[in-house]
Symmetry: C2
Subunit: 402 residues, 2 copies
């Protein structure tokens, strides 16, 4: 198996140079063809998905992530077409300066190289990653979950075939087609191949991500978990506060930017808490007032609630129990908002809006490759630009250094 994995990694590396030179037009044509292939192969993909669903033994929420249907397939195709319409991040001018000696220094976007994506359940990740990596000039190696192997295989086959017919270099897309014990053995081997793979992006539960971070010799971009807070200040507009807390908790509780904890200023706790708890309970949310709930990522209709004495105690709580993902304040007081914005060191800090907005689509980036809480390279949503590096191009007319 090691030899087969190594071959896939070598091919991904070899594809980097032709991929980085691929013209925007050709990439967009290939993406359009890939979207078409998802639609024309729909029956085959759904049949493969049915096989996965039949074998699946997990919980209902996980089954929901795995399941495809014609509407979801259509959304997958539309997402690929959307990526075709976004600006090409390769070769984009990031900045330009002319030095006193006449040198013109341009900073331009270049692909990162070969990217390994390790993910669980959701088959749409297969299509999103292939489309985002192609557009950003990177090769990609896909290692999906065993539970979705038939779905991923069918999606991959359709997309790779369509791309190849449009002249995308072989090796642009690698697929680790192992299941069970074989799949579990593959990951540690891949994570040591730092001579061919430039970046690893794990997407899934905290366990998977910690394991990848621990084993990898290749740089990893990640977030372990999303323990997101909403702090309702004494100067909050309580109507806005209620709408934001409700949205952040219940609109999609299974995702990383959903709120897991509500902090309420003590001066308004008596007015605000009964009202919001009633609204939350009506939506099926369980309120937890105990300390053990602090710092937990429930990914479910559960909310930790704490009364704090002021914004500073809220900031300290977020620093101690948060995960530096997405944290919000609701206040009409500009000074309090500033204190919070300056002090909270999360990938996204929100004022008077829902934590659910930490998302590539909501930021106007188009599709995203996940969200990072790291502080190197990318923080927050990872869109096309975040999938590139840069180089400096320095042009002169014979200048030498004094």
């Amino acid at each position: 198996m090691g030899a087969r994995l190594e071959k896939t990694a070598r091919r991904a590396k070899a594809a980097c140079r032709p991929l980085s030179a691929l013209e925007t037009d050709r990439k967009n044509k290939a993406l359009t063809a890939m979207a078409r292939a998802v639609r024309s192969d729909a029956a085959r993909i759904l049949a493969a998905n049915a096989k996965d669903l039949k074998a699946f033994k997990g919980a209902d929420t996980a089954r929901g992530r795995l399941a495809l249907d014609p509407v979801k397939l259509s959304a997958i195709a539309a997402s690929i077409e959307n990526i075709a319409g976004l600006p090409d991040p390769v070769g984009r001018l990031i900045s330009e300066t002319v030095r006193p000696n006449g040198l013109r220094i341009r900073k331009v976007g270049v692909p990162i190289g070969a990217i390994l994506i390790i993910y669980e359940s959701r088959p749409n990740v297969t299509a999103d990653c292939m489309a985002l990596c192609l557009k950003s000039g990177n090769s990609v190696i896909l290692k999906g979950g065993s539970e979705a192997v038939h779905s991923n295989r069918a999606l991959y086959a359709a997309l790779a075939r369509a791309a190849a017919a449009e002249g995308v270099p072989a090796g642009a897309f690698g697929f680790i087609d192992a299941v069970g014990a074989g799949a579990r053995r593959a990951v540690p081997l891949l994570l040591k191949m730092d001579q061919w793979i430039d970046l690893v992006i794990p997407r899934g539960g905290e366990g998977l991500i910690r394991e990848v971070a621990r084993l990898s010799r290749i740089p990893v971009i990640k977030h372990f978990k999303g323990v997101c807070h909403v702090y309702v200040d004494k100067d909050a507009d309580l109507r806005k506060a209620a709408a934001i807390v409700l949205n952040a908790k219940v609109q999609n509780p299974a995702v990383c930017n959903a709120a897991e904890a509500l902090l309420v200023h003590r001066d308004i706790a008596d007015r605000f808490l009964p009202r919001i708890e009633k609204e939350l309970t009506a939506k099926g949310v369980i309120i937890r007032r105990d300390k053990k709930a602090w710092g937990q990522e429930f990914l479910d209709l559960i909310l930790a609630v704490r009364v704090v004495k002021d914004v500073n105690e809220a900031i300290d709580h977020i620093e101690t129990y948060g995960s530096r993902h997405s944290d919000a304040i609701v206040t009409e007081n500009a000074q309090t908002a500033k204190t919070f914005k300056d002090a909270v060191d999360s990938s996204c800090v929100f004022v008077n809006c829902s934590t659910r907005f930490n998302d590539g689509g909501e930021f106007g980036m188009g599709a995203e490759m996940g969200i990072s809480t790291d502080k190197l390279h990318v923080r927050g949503p990872m869109g096309l630009e975040e999938l590139t590096s840069y180089k400096y191009v320095v042009e002169g007319d014979g200048q030498i250094r004094q």
Copy 2:
């Protein structure tokens, strides 16, 4: 020893939050005081340096890097003052967008956190790193070479004292004061402290850097070596070409952006090579025409020379034997220059100028923390902005996600 190192790392981490909140004025006042302290402590620092030099048994070039004198000390003080004059990268607005739903999204600079610098010989690195990290709101742990321990200790004492008197938080500057076997044991221990240290920057020879990259659990920004090329095309202005080759090789052969190889188009080899070889030889440069010289980092007055059949062979040579650091083309042909600029994937690609310009000062960044050939986070010179990450600050008026 482990306990002492852990204490230093914990203090560096604890200093991150107060440091990130330090106002620009206060940082600049502290930097000005630090520059003053270098001048007022000059006698003590030079006496410490004399001790290091007395014990030093290495080569003359290495001794040159270790040696301080009043002129060098004055340059160190001036460099700190220069950093005081640069814009504060913390809190700077990187980009701003307003979404259709009215959300205002700002991307703002934030410090990375606690940075460990591992370096050899040059005592000026101690001062540069302290000044750059303070200005960028990061805490720093300094692990200098044993051969410079007295010089580093004296510089550190002067700088840390001056900064503390200006209200810089304790823990902003950590100093690993071990020598010999103790120092060698300290590095692997520090490289495992990823709960407190956010980034490692090794500066020194390839051996040191590979060792750090191999042992580190903390992200590392680095370049292993600088194998830089100058390609002289058939359409080159040979006067410019000669000046550039000479400058890239001899102006400072011991540094990473000096040229190690000259590639010459076969159509002009007969005209150009005798002339440039004569000039190089007159400066003491040894010419090596053998294949074994390809890909070597000489850091000395030695130059590999190869005749190539065209720009594509030059590009292939650079891809195979280069280190993705700094590579130049000399040509008056815009199409050939474009081919080279697009295909060569080095941190800096130069057209008609010397590779020696890959430098933070020459780029207008002020002082630099080294040069990266990595493709994640920073590539090329690492100045103040490159020592920061960012966060998104999203402001609304009650928006929730649909």
